[in-house]
């Protein structure tokens, strides 16, 4: 369980990192916190020729609030964001979901941008990004572009990021006035991969339910303020659309059951907060 040999590059600026990435082509891999990539390197699931370390780039370590967005630099760690004193007012969903990301020790090194770039279908941060209708800021040596979360996640570990681009920042929409949020997760143990994770946003005239761990990417659905049997029916239809697969952790049937049951529960959590 040791990585295969690679050259190690630690650029001092994002521009240097982009030049190295363009030169490295398909044989280069970016590393930020490495909490997903390092196990893959150790198991030799990936064997890059060059590793480009983004973790120390000051340009990627900023958190900003402006124009209705919480913008998190790609190398900000999950625990750094969680420790932000204003997070619960700026993005209550993130404050609720981040403690579920891995463990204390991995959140100390794992980054927000890295989790989004890795795009595990059951990961909490990509789920929050979809739930909060966020964006991913991508930068290459040629240009910078912004991709909405709904178009960024394409499938398991697959995103719209091109080979010469880095995730520069991840942008979450700030809490909307009059909106309430809920988060629930089912896993084998706290800190394990989610079998199913759910995020609800409830507003005066809208419910948005986002689900991770069932489809091949985090997926959201919007409804008017459904209740009772109508909500059950909508949840059932959503569960079937998400599909899901059997794997060593759970069956697809169980995952769909969680969408129906926990979907209702997480929506009710948010509703209670909206009208206590």
């Amino acid at each position: 369980m040791k990585p295969a040999p690679f050259d190690y590059l630690r650029p001092a600026t994002v521009a240097d990192a982009l030049a190295a990435l363009a030169a490295g082509g398909d044989d280069a891999r970016l590393i930020a916190g490495g909490q997903s990539l390092m196990p893959m390197l150790n198991m030799r699931l990936v064997t890059p020729r060059t590793l480009i370390d983004l973790s120390a780039l000051p340009e990627l370590r900023r958190v900003e609030v402006a124009d209705g967005w919480l913008t998190v630099g790609a190398a900000v760690t999950q625990n750094e964001l969680l420790a932000r004193p204003t997070l619960a007012t700026e993005a209550p969903l993130l404050a609720a979901a981040l403690p579920w990301v891995g463990h204390f020790q991995t959140r100390n090194r794992g980054t927000v941008g890295g989790s989004v770039a890795h795009a595990d279908p059951s990961a909490e941060i990509p789920l929050c990004l979809v739930a909060l209708e966020g964006e991913v800021v991508l930068r290459s040596a040629r240009k910078r572009r912004t991709v909405p979360a709904s178009g960024f996640f394409i499938g398991p570990l697959t995103t719209a990021r091109a080979a010469d681009e880095i995730v520069e920042a991840v942008r979450f929409r700030l809490r909307k006035p009059g909106a309430a949020y809920g988060f629930r997760e089912m896993g084998m143990r706290h800190g394990d991969f989610a079998i199913t994770a759910l995020a609800a946003t409830v507003e005066a005239d809208r419910i948005r339910l986002s689900v991770g761990g069932v489809a091949d990417r985090p997926t959201a659905r919007d409804w008017p303020r459904l209740e009772g049997a109508a909500l059950d029916e909508a949840l059932n239809a959503f569960a079937w659309d998400l599909g899901g697969d059997d794997d060593q952790h759970a069956t697809a049937t169980y995952r769909r059951t969680l969408v129906r049951r926990l979907g209702r529960a997480v929506i009710e959590d948010a509703q209670t907060e909206l009208t206590p």
């Binding site: 650029p11 240097d16 150790n42 204390f104 020790q105």
Partner: protein, 167 residues
């Protein structure tokens, strides 16, 4: 830009438990292996090498992290603390004492990592609830103690009592 070739061993200097130490590492060398094989700091254990068991947890610039998910070359110039650095002048810390008193270790394989996590975490959460503590401990696997004695030791050293019925 720092550029280190795959086939070469590069000098890496860290402040290990307050002492400057230099060794050599290939870019692919894990911090856990660098500490054990290059610097002879054997207290840091290696269990799974994919971030799950927590045995290799050390503090880097004070922050508890997995040494098996960190490259030695990434910590060049930084401070690394391992369990060897906890005791001062041959005297164990209050936390280590509490582990001893409560029999919070049996084989001890997991203990160094748990102590290093706690050394960081208890600074941030000085009076944890038992639920918070158990959540933090979920980042460590201990196959001997069933965690009960570990929970007792930490609650004791933070001046609290355990609530669990099954302890």
């Amino acid at each position: 830009m720092t550029a280190l070739a795959a086939g070469t061993r590069h000098p890496v200097t860290i402040t290990l438990n307050g002492q400057p130490r230099t060794g050599h590492a290939h870019p692919r060398t894990l911090l856990s292996d660098f500490l054990r094989h290059e610097l002879g700091a054997h207290s840091t254990r290696v269990g799974c090498e994919h971030g799950v068991c927590g045995a290799c947890t050390v503090r880097i610039d004070g922050v508890a992290q997995r040494a098996c998910l960190t490259l030695a070359v990434q910590v060049d110039g930084r401070r690394v603390d391992t369990v060897e650095g906890l005791a001062r002048e041959g005297r164990m810390t209050a936390l280590q004492d509490a582990f001893h008193r409560h029999h919070a270790l049996q084989c001890g394989f997991c203990t160094a990592g748990i102590l290093m996590s706690l050394a960081d975490w208890l600074v941030r959460v000085p009076k944890p609830t038992e639920a918070e503590l158990r959540d933090m401990l979920s980042g460590h696997l201990c196959r001997c103690t069933g965690y009960a004695a570990i929970v007792r030791a930490v609650m004791d050293v933070t001046g609290q009592t355990t609530e669990s019925v099954h302890v």
